[in-house]
């Protein structure tokens, strides 16, 4: 560095004016020297400190750093709710706190403080805990969702000789915060989520149950049964992660304002179901009631929207409490409407009727000479009432539920066309409605039919289906021959109400609209009654709903006797499939009773149809039919 005094003469030519050397005072030399010394001094100091930190004190410092450093934490993602079609909540999660104590450590710390400073800590540990227990008990009340929190119980927990003790696992967060704020050294609180089912047992076979799993890594709410389980991926969302600075070795004590989010949590989506919770409640109650009145082992009912195939209600007489599903029996846990298979009996005759009308083989007022019995291969099939050859109208065959007449019509339809029709009605395959644990049912394929099979299927024996499938068949007829596979989940609702509708399943054309209307009209006579003439009275007069045309079919199928492996003469499945109203269909109702016995109502499900239909007309304000079902001659 050239000195300032030499600068003048050697300075190269510059556009700037030259600086006169005389301006630089004489003390500048001193200033530069002092500056240099100071800088060098600072460098030396830094170097010395570096050696001290890295070499001499390194062990001690890293110990200290361990006590105060960042911790990675999971950020819980809120679990989605389950809603009904009107947005009523069927299941949702709330935040709660688990309060815990480390009794051994708390005692040690307290005793140390007590000995060191008896003035500030005059009480012994036990006496101190009496106070803590009193405060906790008075804040939380004597019980928190089944866990006792009275003073004595809490006290016993506080003074246990144990390293970790949970006092209460589902405390209200505000109350928990109050307790922790008062006794931060002793009591800790921990995030948990609680699943709430406001309707309790209602629809629990469908919705299922989820609960907090502390043993999961990381702990989270997990779906165990039903939709909560099958849709767990959608509902659960994804956890986020963050880094926080925590204090003095306690990873739960976060220094405020040090949180740093690494991954944002993705809250789970909510599910909007097609269920209407009010209808579900009413149907549930009626089904439970009717199961008792008819002495049935199991009773189920399904209500479908006839145009969209949406499941408006699906009720079983047996349900369970989702918050305490451990106690539920196998029967209570299963959703009989989709997981029990049964032989439908006479409700299956609608397939023969639809096929015969579709192929133009019969008109409703065609008269069939129906003999007392009919022989199909090696089997002789009779009607439920003994008779010689009687002239029945084609409508009368179904209204009177004549097996012989139905089989005569089925013979006309033919095996191939009949088997094809079974396919079109969606039997033998899962409906993929979104209801968990759905069964497919059994329909023997055409190439495995024995001689008598075609004598069984048209009258609803020798094949099995779920109640949902059975109701789906009637939906096809109600919806002008277009079968829409039933469905349970309507939409997924994401963050900030972003709604994504589930695609509506494609319809399956079963029969032409005209044929469907003819069948619907023909099945209206199921409720016809003539007090003076039993031969003009149909099988389901109790189903009648004054003011409305209804259309439907009763069914009785023999169960298989496990002793003789033959059809039982005493145990039946009683079924009903119906359309409301028949002239402008809005809802389809399917009912199944498993082995009702011992009461006046054991033989029919028609009264239950009447009750459910009555409720639906009120609930959805269904306009009355313009005309009532006309009276027709069933037997000529």
């Amino acid at each position: 560095m050239p000195g300032p005094q030499q600068r003048g003469p050697r300075r190269p030519l510059s556009v700037r004016g030259s600086r006169p050397a005389a301006r630089l005072g004489g003390n500048s030399r001193v200033r530069f020297a002092v500056g240099r010394i100071l800088l060098i001094g600072a460098l030396v100091l830094a170097a010395v400190k570096l050696v001290q930190v890295q070499g001499v004190d390194s062990k001690e410092l890293s110990e200290q750093a361990k006590l105060q450093r960042t911790t990675r934490q999971n950020i819980a993602a809120g679990r989605g709710s389950i809603l009904d079609r009107n947005g009523n909540q069927l299941a949702f999660s709330v935040e709660v706190r688990a309060l815990y104590i480390l009794p051994q450590r708390a005692r040690k710390n307290w005793d140390a403080a007590h000995q060191k400073d008896p003035k500030q800590y005059p009480l012994s540990y036990d006496d101190h805990m009496r106070e803590v227990a009193k405060f906790i008990s008075s804040t939380l009340g004597p019980e928190v969702s089944g866990e006792k929190t009275d003073e004595e119980t809490v006290y016993q927990q506080l003074v246990k000789d144990i390293s970790y003790e949970v006092l209460v696992s589902e405390a209200d967060p505000a109350k928990a915060a109050k307790i922790v704020a008062k006794y931060p050294a002793e009591i800790g609180s921990e995030y948990r989520a609680k699943r709430i089912y406001p309707n309790g047992e209602l629809a629990s076979n469908i919705i299922g149950a989820a609960n907090w799993r502390q043993d999961e890594k990381p702990p989270t709410t997990q779906g165990i049964l039903g939709l909560e389980n099958s849709q767990d991926n959608v509902l659960a969302g994804r956890m986020g992660r963050r880094v926080v600075d925590t204090m003095s070795g306690d990873d739960t004590l976060v220094i405020p304002n040090t949180e740093q989010e690494l991954v944002r949590p993705q809250p789970g989506k909510s599910l909007e179901l097609t269920i209407d919770v009010d209808t579900q409640y009413a149907v549930q109650r009626m089904v439970t009631d009717y199961a008792k009145k008819s002495g049935a082992n199991t009773a189920s009912a399904v209500v479908l929207d006839s145009h969209t195939g949406e499941i408006v209600a699906m009720a079983n007489d047996k349900t369970y409490d989702p918050t305490d599903f451990g106690k539920a029996t196998e029967d209570q846990l299963r959703n009989a409407a989709v997981s029990s298979l049964f032989e439908p009996g006479s409700v299956n005759k609608i397939i023969t009727a639809a096929a015969a009308v579709e192929y133009g083989l019969f008109k409703p007022d065609d008269v069939l000479q129906v003999p007392g019995s009919i022989k199909v291969a090696d089997r002789t099939i009779k009607d439920w009432w003994g008779h010689g050859t009687v002239p029945l109208s084609f409508a009368g065959v179904f209204a009177r539920s004549s097996n012989v007449g139905t089989l005569m019509a089925a013979q006309e339809v033919g095996k191939e066309r009949y088997a094809e029709m079974l396919q079109k009605f969606g039997l033998g395959r899962r409906t993929n409605s979104g209801v968990p644990a759905e069964e497919a049912g059994v329909v023997p394929p055409l190439n495995q039919w024995s001689g008598s099979t075609f004598g069984n299927l048209p009258i609803g024996q020798g094949l099995s289906m779920t109640l949902l499938q059975m109701t789906g068949m009637y939906q096809a007829i109600a919806n002008d021959g277009l079968r829409i596979p039933p469905r349970l989940i309507r939409a997924e609702i994401g963050e900030e109400g972003a709604r994504s509708e589930k695609p509506r399943p494609d319809g399956v054309r079963v029969v032409s609209p005209e044929a469907a209307k003819t069948v619907r009209d023909m099945f209206r006579y199921v409720a016809q009654v003539n007090p003076r003439d039993a031969s003009q009275t149909a099988t389901g007069p109790q189903a009648a709903l004054p003011g409305y045309q209804i259309s439907g079919k009763t069914g009785t199928a023999q169960q298989i006797d496990q002793n003789c492996k033959c059809y039982s003469q005493s145990q039946y499945w009683i079924t009903f499939g119906g359309i409301l109203p028949a002239d402008h269909p809005r809802y389809v109702i399917g009912i199944m009773l498993d082995n009702p016995h011992g009461t006046q109502l054991s033989g029919t499900a028609a009264p239950l149809f009447h009750d459910i239909a009555t409720y639906l007309t009120q609930r959805f304000q269904i306009p009355m039919s313009a005309e009532q079902t006309p009276y027709v001659q069933l037997q000529m």
Partner: protein, 196 residues
């Protein structure tokens, strides 16, 4: 660049040297060299303080220093003000966050209460406690175009045993002249055996 004329004038640098020699030399120089000499002469003159352009008297520094000090002072004051504000805001933010969290929890609690209270199970229970019953078999009325009223179905009084209604409320009497409950249209053969 203007150089003083050499011819006829003494060199400003060395006036005492012999003129003749100088002139002879000058006569032998090229034009480029002439210009170089001229520049050298001018440089020398400048260094000696020969006023080619007279230096202005240096302006007083005081106003500038004062200005800088004022700016610095204002800056420091500003920074201090803003940092205190920021610190205060942090506390306010923290309080607001805590408040928001509290309110969030409160909302959640209320949401939970509403959901529980509006569940049909609970509504039905409370309705039952108030003595309300559901008509299982209502009749329906229709007004025909001619103004006459047509009645469909026969209403029946609810069959359910209900808890007694509060004494203050009047018990609605079942419509007079109605048949007792549970009357279904008489039916023929109601319980068909297999295949019905």
């Amino acid at each position: 660049m203007t150089a003083p004329a050499r011819v006829g004038g003494p060199s400003p640098r060395d006036p005492s040297k012999k003129k003749a020699e100088e002139q002879n030399k000058a006569r032998r120089r090229t034009a480029g060299a002439e210009r170089a000499y001229a520049r050298r002469a001018q440089r020398a003159q400048n260094l000696r303080g020969g006023a080619a352009a007279p230096q202005p008297k240096p302006a007083s520094k005081a106003p500038f220093v004062v200005l800088v000090m004022l700016v610095l002072g204002a800056g420091v004051a500003g920074i201090m003000y803003f940092s205190t504000q920021a610190a205060a805001d942090t506390y306010r933010l923290q309080e607001a966050k805590a408040e928001a969290e509290k309110l969030q929890l409160r909302t959640e609690q209320l949401r939970r209460e509403v959901a529980l209270l509006e569940s049909p199970t609970d509504l039905a229970r409370r309705a039952g406690e108030m003595g309300l019953v559901e008509p299982t078999n209502p009749a329906r009325l229709r007004q025909n175009p001619d103004g006459s009223i047509e009645e469909f179905g026969k209403p029946s009084a609810p069959t359910k045993s209900t808890p007694p209604p509060p004494p203050s409320s009047e018990t609605p009497a079942p419509p007079a002249g109605q048949p007792p409950a549970g009357q279904n249209p008489p039916a023929g053969n109601q319980t068909p055996p297999a295949g019905g």
